[in-house]
């Protein structure tokens, strides 16, 4: 049980990687990149977890309550912002690919032009 979040993070990474490498559609591929990235959320949150800790929000609990690590949670927020940025750019690239080659299947995108 102690290692379950680590196992989940590894599983998400591997299953996302499998999706990326076996994908037949660029949109699906971009979503798989998102799955890979979500493994880092699980890992970060797992690292910050404390047994018996509450969420680090001290509105209605004493300021000295035992809380989980807020630093990794802030890092995870950064992570999500990066994922949004990456997904937006990749989808833009997919639109351009479709315009220029008429297909989103990576297997059929073999022509190189420059």
């Amino acid at each position: 049980m102690n290692y379950l979040p680590y196992a989940v993070a590894a599983w998400l990474f591997l299953v996302g990687l499998y999706g990326v490498t076996s994908s037949r559609n660029l949109i699906h591929l971009i979503m798989c990149v998102g799955v890979i990235q979500s493994s880092s959320y699980v890992l970060l949150l797992a690292i910050g977890y404390r047994v018996g800790g509450v969420a680090p929000v001290f509105v209605d609990i004493p300021a000295n309550s035992r809380a989980v690590d807020p630093v990794v949670q802030a890092l995870m927020l950064t992570d999500i912002v990066v994922e949004v940025a990456v997904t937006a750019l990749l989808l833009g690239l997919a639109v351009q690919v479709h315009k220029r080659h008429g297909t989103l299947n990576p297997d059929r995108l073999t022509k190189i032009s420059g």
Partner: protein, 250 residues
């Protein structure tokens, strides 16, 4: 390389990678019993010294405010990248997509979708603003609230026509909002410099913990980030929808 051969390669590599994960995780301490001193320190000072009740916001906009400036500009740059990518280019081949079914029309949105979206527009705006301005008090802040704010024009798009959507959300509005948001963040840094501190040092009066005016500079940065994220995501959305509409017209 056929798909089958490739799949074998992938599975072998994935198994190797899984083994590496296992080796890397095995020496880690059991979950929940080790924590960083930095995290404990932030938890200890956030209310007594910084008057911010949400420790995550304290990390993002007070302790690590400079890093979050970089984070904000990641989003800013990527929105610019999307706008550049979606721009109509002169050498683009027109029409002809081999995977497009001819004569297929998009069905109009059902009444249930329209009514639900219409009912949700105002609550989404209000909720977005609430999350933006309460960043220093409860979970939330500029990033989260900005995304909720950007969802309001999407709801307008769902419950009405594209023209109506464009009337609610103009390119200019989204641009100004994004630029003003990004500028606010930098201005707050300059305010710190003007007050004799370091860039983005929180020197404004800290107020009473748990209230809207607590946290000194944090609420101002939150509003700036909210504008930036809301405007930026709306801009990206506009760029994508514009593309869609142009294709439909062809």
């Amino acid at each position: 390389m056929t798909r089958k051969v490739r799949r074998v390669f992938i599975l072998i590599s994935a198994a190797a990678l899984a083994w590496v994960f296992f080796l890397a995780y095995r020496p880690l301490p059991p979950l929940g019993f080790v924590h960083s001193q930095y995290g404990d320190l932030v938890n200890a000072i956030t209310v007594p010294e910084r008057h911010i009740t949400d420790a995550v916001s304290a990390v993002n906009f007070d302790v690590r405010a400079f890093d979050t400036l970089g984070e904000e500009f990641i989003l800013f740059t990527s929105v610019m990248g999307v706008l550049v990518l979606m721009r109509r280019q002169s050498d683009e081949p027109a029409g002809h997509h081999e995977d497009k079914a001819p004569g297929r029309t998009v069905p109009p949105a059902s009444d249930a979708v329209r009514v639900t979206a219409l009912l949700l527009v105002a609550p989404a705006m209000l909720f977005g603003l609430y999350i933006v301005v309460h960043g220093q008090v409860s979970p939330g802040g500029g990033f989260q609230g900005g995304v909720i704010l950007a969802s309001a024009p999407v709801l307008v798009y769902l419950c009405s026509e594209y023209a109506e959507f464009r009337r609610v959300l103009s390119m200019r509005l989204a641009e100004v909002s994004e630029a003003a948001g990004a500028a606010t963040y930098i201005l707050m840094g300059l305010v710190s410099l003007g007050l004799g501190g370091m860039f983005l040092e929180n020197l404004l009066p800290l107020g009473r913990s748990g209230t809207l005016t607590s946290g000194g500079m944090v609420p101002f940065i939150d509003v700036g980030v909210g504008l930036e994220v809301g405007g930026g995501l709306s801009l990206a959305l506009l760029a994508y929808l514009e593309e869609l509409v142009e294709e439909k017209e062809q």
